[in-house]
Symmetry: C2
């Protein structure tokens, strides 16, 4: 029982910091997006495609979360986007104190949109509020159309699912209609965007949704 109470305390400290982060974002007019998904779903590619599709309609800053390396931050920086890399050193998710610290180092003075790329993981990141306004799950066709059955919480708690790598649909058994039904049965309010960062298909629809969602915040 002691364990459970300690767990509760940690979560509630995180949530308190998440509220502080949200306050900072709101003061700066920054719309925060917590981008989650499996390793290799294409979260960084979605970020780069989104920045290109927004075409300056929203100015973006990025926080990259990884266990190790700055591979992703280098890609984002090469696109001219302000970026701060968090290395969790083994931790399987970002938490609100990490975001608070990152914000102190990241130049967001020109930005309207803060995209936080979480650690690649379909389980743990979902349990930690970061103070963002919106949660988006990047899934991908090669992961298979049964993932919502196996990782339901991640699909239930998200505002949108960006289903990446639809260019691979001809080569993989993936039933897009069944997937859509399954996602909506778990989360009737979720927006679903089938996209390909390789061909650009669907990216504009997703970017338009993001613009509209920010406008209604």
């Amino acid at each position: 029982m002691a364990q459970i109470e300690i767990g509760k305390k940690i979560l509630s400290t995180n949530d308190q910091v998440a509220l502080q982060v949200r306050e900072v974002l709101d003061q700066q007019g920054l719309f925060g997006l917590n981008l989650m998904g499996s390793p290799g779903a294409g979260k960084t590619s979605v970020i780069l495609a989104t920045v290109a599709a927004l075409d300056g309609a929203l100015k973006t800053a990025v926080i990259e979360g990884d266990i190790a390396s700055r591979v992703d931050a280098d890609k984002v920086a090469a696109a001219g986007v302000p970026v701060y890399q968090i290395n969790t050193g083994g931790m399987c998710h970002l938490d609100a104190p990490m975001i608070q610290k990152a914000l102190a180092h990241l130049d967001t003075s020109e930005a309207d949109l803060l995209i936080i790329e979480n650690v690649g993981n379909l389980v743990c990141p979902n349990a930690f509020l970061l103070g963002a306004h919106c949660r988006v799950l990047v899934a991908s066709v090669p992961e298979g159309d049964d993932k919502p059955y196996k990782y339901p919480a991640m699909f239930q708690d998200t505002n949108a699912v960006v289903l990446n790598k639809i260019d691979l649909l001809p080569y993989i058994d993936f039933d897009l209609d069944a997937y859509r039904r399954l996602v909506l049965s778990l989360n009737p309010d979720a927006a679903l965007f089938p996209v390909s960062c390789k061909t650009g298909e669907g990216i504009q629809e997703w970017a338009d949704w993001l613009l509209e969602t920010k406008a209604h915040e």
Copy 2:
């Protein structure tokens, strides 16, 4: 500091149970394999292809670990393999007590090989011993060739990497030579098996390695 000590205690209880599990496996002449990997890497497909390639040379029993659903267990049972499904109910990894409990319910009387499919996750499962004799990481081409940079512990601690979905290599930017160098730089002792569960390519080599590794245990 209190947190860290509590973490230590939990890990050490797990490790104690892992030793008990290992003892049970050894008493039954069962070779235990802890199969880890990202969601959608194809762990269940690798299990089914391995059973087929072993062609009775090893008789297999399977423990399936998932957050929710029994999709995977149903697939394995349909192949005539004894299987027990663990639903972790939100927990991001299997632990040794779950395996101990599963073994009490699973008929392993005919089996030489116990494959434990862990929860799809490239981070957390690596930190929990299950009592298995061997760790194998199922990776896949669509996840990208940079994963060892980002999730180094999983690659460092494994005995073998089964790189699945090589049938998709023509459609994806993936440098197999660079990937091999990267894996070996992190883990010079790792065996790497590029395979396709769809075409069967590479499966026999992997199954032969498994037979040989069991023979030397």
